[in-house]
């Protein structure tokens, strides 16, 4: 029971424990300045994790998100160089992301190709195009009004409101609407979902479009946060996002997981990294923590479930199927 339904509860509890322990033991962790940094650090992971949760719930994956972010950032830089206003550029970047997502969606749904292979391909393609667009240079002279909005706001950073609004929207759709129920149905059994009147192909296509658009938005915010448009912005972020989503209790096989769990996963990952960095642990050693967490987050529920089954068998030998 715990393993099946309660992993997200467990991860939320664990996140709270980590936050309390880090506040008590790590200097400056609980300062309002560090809170701002923490929010800015988890901003791209949290945003991209929202649609990624949907996609993994349906049993697919999108590894191209970080490259979409990078291409969106590169395009933003070159459009700014070309003299367009930020108000024009932002919707264009969102549209670009949506189109890139639609390409993924078409390959996955119309051609019926495995999303892992497709998005590994577009991971390379989109990142390559980002470099083709902007080379290895950087565009940095973005207007302070926008960069200040992203980095500013104390004690509550401005972007936190954006994360909260989007998270609530994604959470409501997933957990309180027929759309959300359909996603779980597709993930649990595509065939059964089809019999129940859901169109898995169409559903997945739109998920990829949303995922691309959100990654495009993340590219815009990334650029403004560092005040630097670069083709390699966000490189490798897809791994952190997938790690956070799985850590939050979403099953890689689809059909299981909750958005609060995912948000806890994001906060856990980001605050652990933040606390370790404040404790002078090197950036590289953080990789070990991220990777180990990812493996443990999938291993632990399995192990707990097995333990519980064994205990059931010992206590109730006549009911071996009690799981």
């Amino acid at each position: 029971m715990f393993a099946k339904r309660g992993w997200d509860t467990a991860i939320i509890a664990l996140t709270i424990v980590v936050l309390i322990v880090a506040s008590g033991t790590v200097d400056n962790f609980a300062s309002s300045q560090n809170f701002g940094f923490l929010v800015l650090d988890l901003l791209p992971i949290a945003l991209v994790a929202l649609p990624m949760t949907y996609i993994i719930v349906t049993g697919e994956i999108d590894l191209s998100v970080a490259s979409t972010l990078g291409l969106s950032s590169a395009v933003m830089g070159s459009l700014w160089n070309a003299g367009l206003s930020i108000e024009t550029i932002i919707p264009l970047c969102l549209l670009l992301g949506a189109i890139l997502g639609a390409v993924n969606g078409l390959f996955v749904t119309v051609l019926g190709l495995p999303s892992l292979a497709v998005t590994i391909g577009t991971l390379a393609l989109y990142r390559g195009l980002a470099f083709v667009v902007l080379g290895d240079g950087a565009v940095a002279d973005f207007p302070a009004v926008y960069t200040d909005w992203v980095t500013g706001g104390s004690p509550i950073p401005n972007v936190l409101y954006l994360i909260i609004v989007l998270a609530i929207a994604f959470g409501l759709v997933l957990h309180a609407t027929p759309i959300g129920r359909n996603l779980y149905a597709v993930g649990a059994s595509e065939q059964a979902a089809r019999f129940a009147g859901v169109r898995p192909g169409r559903t997945k296509f739109w998920l990829y479009v949303v995922s691309g658009a959100v990654a495009g938005l993340a590219g815009v915010l990334w650029t403004l946060r560092y005040s630097s448009a670069r083709a390699d912005n966000g490189a490798g972020l897809e791994l952190a996002v997938v790690a956070a989503v799985l850590l939050g209790g979403v099953s890689i096989f689809g059909g299981r997981g909750t958005l609060p769990g995912v948000l806890a996963g994001v906060v856990l990952l980001a605050s652990l990294q933040n606390a370790l960095r404040l404790s002078d642990v090197s950036n590289e050693a953080l990789n070990v923590v991220t990777g180990a967490l990812l493996i443990i987050s999938v291993l632990a529920p399995n192990a707990v479930q097995k333990l519980i089954q064994r205990r059931h068998r010992l206590l109730l030998p006549e009911r071996t199927n009690a799981s």
Partner: protein, 337 residues
């Protein structure tokens, strides 16, 4: 899919041969066009560079193909290559008298242990390979960084014999290429003609059926990941011998090229079909594209975009061919399923 290939008509096997033929034609076109626009492309040094690059990528691609055939994936190969290269580099720096064979064995051993770990987590932890190797990609790279702590091993610290091994040739062909060819031949023959190899295809085609047929899936899974890790470790030694300078970042992001080589080479990501020969051809094609772009003075940044487009093209055309074959079988009333 494989069984269908074996039972059903020469037409099908022609299709699958044609996939490898397609890569060969693409290669020939690429080399032809590049050589016409700049004859320097066919100079000895240029060909040598391509062969050396291909040798390292192909060794890793062979291991990856074996894992992918069983319907798994190994994303940790780039990190394993880095760990092995750094291990062997520091070992040789501290013990200059060590023979090259020991270096090769140590590198492969380090990789095999890491691969065994991957396999054990997949098999006994019941964790999907994607998640396991995504995790170990981080963990192994982190360990290498932690251990290296910013230092690197330079060529002038490595024994001359080891660097000579990276450059030496036999019958005009570099040692590295010989090693890749030997590995390719052995794994190709085992996969094609031996029971252990055929069982990997069976597992990839249908895991349940393979279990029911009495194939020891657990053992084979462990073996596949161990081989992939071992070959990635061996690739680390070859990398160290070729470049001489090794830091903790060696091989970062390489898993993408390795998976690309395998997919472009016609190994289906859903397992059960493909060959290591195709994977090696894929490695050759990718490496040649890199050199061609440099020779043709096309912006190097196009390379990654081309790799991505090639992956999409390869898996897309594979699917179209499969769909057409299925349709023609249906029309003739064959009962495949």
């Amino acid at each position: 899919m494989t069984t269908a290939t074996l039972n059903l008509a020469p037409k099908l096997s022609l299709v699958f041969k044609a996939r490898e033929l397609g890569i060969v034609i693409a290669l020939a076109l690429l080399v032809g066009v590049t050589a016409i626009s700049n004859p320097r492309f066919l100079s000895g040094q240029s060909i040598r560079d391509i062969l050396l690059g291909t040798a390292i990528l192909a060794v890793l691609a062979v291991g990856q193909a074996i894992v992918v055939i069983t319907r798994n994936i190994d994303l940790s190969v780039g990190s394993i290559l880095g760990l092995s290269a750094f291990t062997v580099g520091t070992l040789l720096r501290d013990n200059p008298g060590l023979p090259v064979v020991v270096a090769l064995l140590v590198g492969a051993g380090v990789g095999a242990v890491a691969g065994l770990g991957n396999g054990a987590l997949v098999q006994y932890g019941k964790i999907p390979a994607l998640v396991v190797t995504l995790g170990t990609l981080y963990v192994i790279r982190g360990i290498t960084y932690f251990w290296a702590g910013g230092q690197q091993v330079n060529a002038d610290e490595l024994p001359g014999s080891f660097l000579a091994f990276g450059n030496a040739t036999l019958l005009g062909i570099p040692y590295l290429v010989w090693i890749a060819l030997i590995i390719l031949t052995i794994s190709g023959v085992v996969l094609r003609n031996y029971r252990a190899g055929r069982e990997l295809y069976a597992m990839g085609s249908s895991p349940q059926a393979a279990t029911l047929a009495g194939i020891r899936v657990g053992r084979r899974t462990l073996a596949a990941f161990t081989v992939s890790g071992g070959l990635a470790g061996l690739g680390g030694v070859l990398f160290a011998a070729r470049f001489g300078t090794i830091d903790a970042a060696a091989g970062t992001g390489l898993e993408l090229n390795v998976v690309a080589a395998v997919v472009v080479g016609g190994v289906a990501v859903f397992g059960g079909s493909g060959s290591v020969w195709g994977a090696a051809l894929g490695a050759l094609l990718l490496t040649t594209i890199g050199s061609s772009l440099a020779v043709l003075e096309i912006n190097q940044f196009w390379q990654q975009a081309i790799v991505g487009a090639l992956i999409l093209l390869a898996i897309g055309s594979d699917r179209l061919v499969a769909a057409r074959v299925a349709a023609s079988l249906k029309k003739r009333g064959s009962r495949v399923r």
